[in-house]
């Protein structure tokens, strides 16, 4: 549930960073402040010197996410992200020469157990192999130093050391005092050049626990997963980033290694550093440690295109939680002009307490306790969706709520005018400026746009482009995509109320 709400917030932030203002020329601000360099191997480096505190926010991102997985490797990008916390042949080990053969044997035994569990679950071999795996893991743990990066970074004042995987990208983050930049560069470059996937099977179990937490103990988590799986027939946006339960349970370490070798390549990598710094020195430090990462062939974009939807899709999910509803329409992603029109729709309909849906459904008609609209889910590298989520108050049926959402959207279509568009642009402008107050937020935005749209300037030019959207553009986008046969509806029903 929390992730769900965070998602709304993040998406709102992502679309609202832009400029057409006379208050602060944010286009100019970014173009002046961002220093862009490209290393010989293709890594893009973005730097911004700002702030009063001697700290830096570091983001390393790769243009790879769950959208790049196949059916058999669903969840690989996320497990790989977890495995990048396990050290290298030098960090995280007491004696790698002794540890390596044990790791090899762990892999062989683990892969055999997985195969037997799938193909011959009654095999008597499984128990023996499980015992061997346990004993090997004990021997290996005696040679390993767990969580090595965490110890190194926390000792050096690092905070917010974390990573994330989405449909579109994978990111690794930390904030450190500015004088630790060389430590960071040395550590992260080694981490990416030569990762060792130790403690794999335990970490895979932890990922399974994460899945339970996010999707199998939360009604809205379950609803969101089911919604995208129903909305997309062919495109891999239908798969949850964390992977399906069975994918996680049987994910092969070899598949993770292949995934790493294929996608963690310099041409897909962006490094972003924001905070108090001398960009020239930052560049030299990063060049020193990252430029020798060897380029590898670009694997190319995925070839699956979602077929046109030819009728409404509707699903129900039952869980022990109060009901809610998700309604979505497929539409083009950025930089299509229609995408900007949908950004306007998102804010007009669902951002703030004076937005149309909140005002009507929550405040006036008292049908919903929460309502949100967002554009650009579940990812933005490929065509995506415009979505409305609502939670009814007790006693209001989902049917009534759904009907009212459609009425409000029709009313929006009839009534939208330039004054309302101006309100939206004002909100976008100020959100953009409000966002400029912290290193990590700015680093996240630059990194996102460079990674997903291959150009951070999308961010700098956003408000200018948004400002070009007219009422007619909104009519056009609305009429083209907000149609019954392009719609997916998922309802979460409380199974405690179902006889």
């Amino acid at each position: 549930m929390k992730k769900f709400y965070i998602c709304f917030v993040l998406i709102f932030l992502m679309i609202s960073v832009n400029n057409y203002s006379t208050e602060v020329d944010t286009t100019e601000y970014f173009k002046t402040k961002v220093v862009e360099k490209r290393l010989k191997n293709g890594i893009v480096l973005l730097m911004m010197d700002r702030g009063f505190s001697p700290t830096l926010a570091f983001h390393i991102s790769f243009r790879v996410g769950s959208v790049d997985e196949s059916y058999s490797t669903s969840g690989a990008a996320h497990i790989l992200e977890h495995m990048l916390f396990k050290g290298t042949d030098k960090l995280g080990t007491k004696d790698y020469q002794k540890e390596k053969p044990i790791l090899n044997r762990i892999e062989a035994v683990g892969e055999t157990i997985d195969r037997l569990r799938l193909e011959n679950p009654g095999s008597g071999e499984i128990k023996k192999l499980e015992a061997e795996l346990k004993s090997l893991e004990v021997r290996q743990s005696e040679l390993a130093i767990s969580s090595p990066y965490d110890m190194l970074y926390t000792s050096n004042g690092g905070v917010m050391f974390n990573a994330s995987t989405s449909r579109d990208m994978t990111g690794y983050y930390i904030q450190l005092p500015s004088d630790r930049i060389e430590l960071w560069a040395e550590t992260e470059s080694a981490r990416l050049k030569n990762p060792v996937f130790r403690e794999y099977y335990k970490e895979r179990d932890n990922v399974f626990e994460e899945r339970l937490m996010r999707y199998q103990t939360s009604g809205d988590g379950l609803l969101q997963e089911a919604f995208f799986a129903a909305a997309y027939s062919a495109h891999p946006y239908r798969h949850p980033t964390i992977g399906w339960e069975s994918n996680i349970k049987y994910m092969s370490i070899n598949d993770i290694r292949k995934f790493y070798n294929t996608y963690y390549i310099p041409s897909r990598m962006t490094i972003t550093v924001v905070g108090k710094q001398n960009p020239e020195e930052t560049y030299n430090t990063i060049k020193k440690y990252f430029e020798d990462i060897k380029p590898r062939p670009e694997p190319g974009e995925i070839k699956i295109i979602e077929p046109e939807q030819v009728g409404e899709k509707r699903i129900s999910v039952y869980f022990k939680s109060r009901p809610s509803i998700m309604i979505g329409w497929k539409k083009p992603t950025a930089p299509a002009k229609d995408d900007y029109a949908f950004d306007i729709m998102q804010t007009a309909l669902g951002t703030g307490k004076s937005s149309r849906l909140y005002k009507s459904l929550v405040l006036e008609k008292k049908l919903a306790s929460a309502v949100y609209a967002w554009n650009g889910a579940p990812g933005s590298r490929y065509d995506n969706m415009f979505i409305v989520y609502a939670a009814p108050v007790a006693g209001v049926s989902l049917e009534t709520l759904e009907k009212e959402i459609y009425s409000e959207m029709s009313r929006f279509r009839k009534e939208i005018d330039s004054a309302e568009i101006d309100r939206v642009k004002n909100l976008s402008e100020s959100s953009f400026i409000f966002m400029l107050d912290n290193n990590d937020g700015i680093a996240g935005q630059l990194s996102y746009y460079q990674t997903v749209f291959k150009d951070w300037r999308y961010l700098a030019n956003y408000l200018e482009n948004l400002n070009k959207v007219s009422v007619e553009d909104i009519y056009s986008a609305f009429d083209k995509y907000i149609k019954d046969n392009n719609r997916t509806v998922a309802v979460l029903l409380d199974d405690r109320s179902v006889k």
Partner: protein, 470 residues
Amino acid sequence: MKKLSVSLAIFALVILFSWDKTEAEPLKSIKTDFLSALPEVKKHTLNNGVNLLYLKDDLPVTVIYASISFGKLYENSGNAGITEVLCKTLTIAGTESYPGNSLNQKLESVGGEINISAGWETIGIEIKVLSKYNNLAFDILGDLLKNPVFEGADVNSAKQLVMEKIKRDMDEPEETGVLKLREIIFGGSGYGTVPTEKSIGNIDSGSLKLLWNKSATGGNVTIAVSSSENESEIISLAEKKLSEIVKGKKEYYTIDREKILSDIKSSSGIIYLIPRELEQATIYIGTCAPEIKYNGNYALYLMNYILGGGSFNSRLMNEIRVRRGMAYSVYSLVRNRRSAGIFISFVQTRNESAGEVLSLMHENIKKMYNEPVSREELAWAKESVKNSYVFRFNDIDDLLGNFLEIDYNDLDAGYFRDYLANINGVTAGQIVDESRKMFEQGLITVVVGNRNLEKVLSSHGKVVICEQEK
């Protein structure tokens, strides 16, 4: 203009000289002279007692944060939920000059934002605008403090929305578990209040008006402003828009610590099981922690860092997640507030691992007061705190937040100046002593999980089943 005596430049010098260089320092320590370069927070007191903190911002943005001393810790079983209802009513009913949703419309039409939030100790009103709309922002704040509208229909809507949120939160095992934990530890008051249909039902326009008239008074309100506008302009605006707020004095909550400790003792060892047919069990262990001014908090902070607050290298994380692969989410925390505090340890794990995880949690907690932490662990925790201290002063919100903390808690002006020296002075023996004092008060365990866990859990203590209303 009365400036705060806490000069950050002095902080820096004292920190530099107070750090004990004889301690083991495995790494080059972060320099702390950055403190002398931080922007200065200035303090002004209006005639009616409203405290105004001001910090210059380079961006053309004004953020006004009004902190009103009343929060959920002031509640009891009779009025549980009143802080949330009050905040929701203020949000949707508006004020005399900006009635109903016109308040939000007016602000949002110029790209502004307002957020009124119910905290444990304070109600926060945050208004964010581009600096050219300062006048509007102060006008709205002044009207919210002086002339809020508490119409019956809006109060009823607010009550309905708050109740809906509570019910939805209760569908989440983390929320259900922590609410029960706090209820047991604090006996249903303050930290342990549990809003119910009945307690929310008792709230009406009259009770909200009474509460607001008592709370939104000069001495009980502190306003922190960051703006590109000059200090004198901000003071002048504040005087103009806030001068009609009546004088008053700071209101604080009280707690009956003896009763809390006696209740904890009598419930200690019992495992409260809230049946929920899910694949994953949610486990909480907790107890009451000291108030913020308690000297032993430095030792407890480090204890918690080593136990479960220090990320992957903390003991709980290492034992449960890293070494055994039994959980994704594992942590512990200690939160010390003005008169009350809480310790919480949390893990979510598959039902079949719940018994083993519960044992590991108890074992590791006990270990904190049965044997001293190692020299390496203590050095790591101290170094981490010291080197990340700069992040407590990372942006304007941090700087103003620190001053609000000093203001509400009547902390010594040297609190932030001496913080690192106090951390550095903690010994392994003190960690044992303070852990013992806190944990031997008793530990409350709450599990949200399958009903059939009762059998497994009963080998760890008496299990009491807590049926939840739907």
